[in-house]
């Protein structure tokens, strides 16, 4: 705006229209109330980010210090993973609250976030924490991880999901054995086994023959802030009587049989397989999938071993990816085990045996424990 224009707009009061308007707007807005308090200030803008940075730096520090002096970790926590039952605050929630302290003393922000816990019954645990803290510190998705995972406080809370139930029978065998009954029996036994292993906090998606929607199962697991999700199913092969044992984690699949299976297990959710193409591509690099894969491998190994004992002809088709809806909503290691095949007559028989159900449950439990101890094993070798 040139002075010439100003003059052109000027009125008798000696103030040009433009300045008058600008002043008018200013006054009107000032009259609207003083919002300065609620307006974001420069310092506040970067706070959350800073806190995140410090937490990751802190995690790194803990990892490094922990490598040099394992005692450090013991002093600050020293709990067994299994013994801790309190839910851990999420990294996200902690970040803004501790921003100030974090800036002053980075490592404190991290250690204070670790709840005080009973002393360690096992000696290996601190090593587990160290190994995983180091692994995790470099990951991009750090801020999306629960703090419990970032510092690997271990697996405390597991959701055990008995497939199907109520009006949803699942696969049905030649003799009328229903998948929903078998999965429930195994799930209940798995709960007991895991408790025996020291994981006290087991959440069941169902404990009786009730109908539970897939999304309810996931919602439950999310709300519980579980560290792990295990879904139990029994396969059924339409064109074969083979007894296949397989464990799945979420991911894309090109295998026709796997896709058919996923479609079968996803029944009741309103999503088709095509909906998952994009998600799968996007989640491809996320750590959850890698962790889920590790968990699936651990479980599959033990599951197949026990399957062979029950049926020498059982086939190990290994760990696979499949777009199961029930595995989708969680950011913690999640797997779906098809523990056996209802379409195999031999399998249908042993699936009805309490004892054999117990063996299958034990196999899954030992897979879980092995997954959990992997970090320690790895670290000892280094």
């Amino acid at each position: 705006m040139s002075p010439m224009n100003f003059r052109k707009l000027a009125d008798g009061r000696g103030e040009d229209a433009r300045s008058r308007i600008l002043r008018g707007i200013y006054e009107e807005n000032q009259a609207l109330g003083d919002f300065t308090g609620t307006l974001k200030k420069k310092s506040a803008r970067g706070a959350a980010w800073q806190a995140r940075q410090w937490i990751s730096i802190g995690a790194l520090l803990i990892a490094l210090v922990g490598l040099a002096t394992p005692v450090f970790v013991n002093r600050n926590g020293g709990e067994t993973a299994a013994a801790v039952t309190a839910p851990t605050p999420q990294a996200k929630a902690v970040a803004p609250a501790t921003a100030g302290e974090a800036a002053a003393e980075p490592p404190v922000a991290v250690t204070t976030a670790v709840p005080a816990t009973p002393p360690a019954p096992t000696a290996t645990t601190p090593r587990v924490r160290v190994a995983n803290a180091r692994e995790v510190a470099g990951l991009e998705i750090l801020d999306d991880l629960p703090l419990s995972q970032m510092l690997d406080l271990g697996i405390r809370r597991i959701v055990v999901d008995a497939g199907h139930g109520g009006s949803d029978k699942g696969a049905v065998g030649k003799d009328g054995t229903m998948e929903k009954d078998v999965t429930l029996a195994i799930a209940l036994k798995l709960r007991d086994q895991l408790k025996e292993q020291g994981i006290a906090d087991i959440i069941m998606t169902r404990t009786d023959d009730s109908t539970v929607a897939l999304h309810e199962r996931v919602d439950l697991a999310k709300a519980a802030k579980a560290d792990m999700f295990i879904s139990i199913h029994v396969n059924s092969l339409p064109r074969s009587s083979k007894n296949v044992v397989e464990t799945f984690y979420f991911g894309p699949s090109k295998d026709q049989r796997t896709l058919e299976l996923a479609d079968q297990e996803n029944k009741g959710s309103k999503y088709g397989l095509s909906d998952f193409t994009e998600i799968v591509a996007r989640l491809g690099k996320a750590m959850k999938l890698q962790e889920s894969k590790k968990l699936a491998e651990a479980i599959q190994r033990d599951l197949y071993r026990s399957g062979r004992e029950l049926d020498p002809d059982a086939i190990d088709t290994g760990v696979k990816r499949a777009p199961f809806v029930v595995l989708l909503g969680l950011d913690v290691p999640s797997v779906l085990a098809e523990v056996s095949c209802m379409s195999s007559e031999k399998a249908e028989r042993y699936l009805n045996s309490e004892e054999d159900q117990g063996r299958i449950a034990a196999a899954i439990a030992s897979g879980v424990m092995r997954y959990q101890n992997k970090g320690a094993v790895k670290n000892e070798r280094e």
Partner: protein
Amino acid sequence: MKGNDESQEYQDSVQDNEQPQEEEQAQMKEKDKVLYVGIDLGTSRSAISSGNGNREWIESYVGWPKDFIAEKVLGKPVLFGNEALENRLSLDVCRPLDRGVIRKGIEGSEKAVKEIIRHLIEQVHPDSNCSINAVVGVPAESLNSNKLAIKDAVSGYVNSLMVVSEPFTIAYGADLLNHSLVIDIGAGTTDFCVMHGMIPSEDDQKTLFTAGDYIDEQLLNGLLQKFPGCKLNAYMARQFKEAHSFVGALDEPVVVELSVNGKLVRQDIKEEMRRACESIVPPMVETVIELVAKVEPEFQEKVKKNIVLGGGGSLIRGLSSYLENQLGEYGNYYVRCVSDPLFGGADGALKLAQDMPARYWESL
């Protein structure tokens, strides 16, 4: 989306590091830098115009995935504009400024305004260490009852903020500060604002609810009447309108594809289109006359010659001359359209922000 932004930032910083010294100096200077932005918060479209040269607009729809699966499928916790519309079956969609008013108390409405503002500001990529001074143009109707709510919604994302009424920002941007009448034809409202060298008072402004959405309704009804077995909704009517709107005479037919009794048929909907578009004109004529009559007599002729149409509705073909004709009975009127209806409001708000003396910003 968030991830993309971050990787973009990361790339930027990598490039910057190639000239470390310059970068440092630039950063020192940036420290106290202020970014001015103008935001046009509309019923159907919201736009931002930023002092760093970036301009963006979105449809003012905000959608939240209905459940966790939808969220995974869509890949983001909140969607905007067309993307929200396209995925509306998986979303809880909110058009927060329906009828030009932020609906306080209505679930999601305030949250949606916040999301729109945050999204728009992200779109112009403000420097992380600069402070943001924003002028937000809101539907004229919001001025009295809802300015506070909007101010509240915006305050989290900017350092300093002023809220002004929408047709006024268009007027300011087009340098129509004196002896003019600006008509902003939006989706939910048509807003009138007489400018006479100062900030408009209540008497200088008027809002009608016959605007774009009203045309859509009229068109929909007209088409359903003419083609009873026709599958149509307001969204489709709007698409037809935006492609073929006109008033007055038109030499060509208006042919669209309609699904009648399950069959796709091509139909000429020229008459229905014309009637629907012209339906907003009579109340406009009345309001123009009413507002002009209130202007001091010696300036009335000037205002009659300085009527300017803005907003998406000003894109209706033939509207300015048609309106001029209809006003002809009442005198010598001259009506024209602003040059950039899409960004007229946002650009004007930006200009306001930049012209605003620093001392005003500081003492807010």
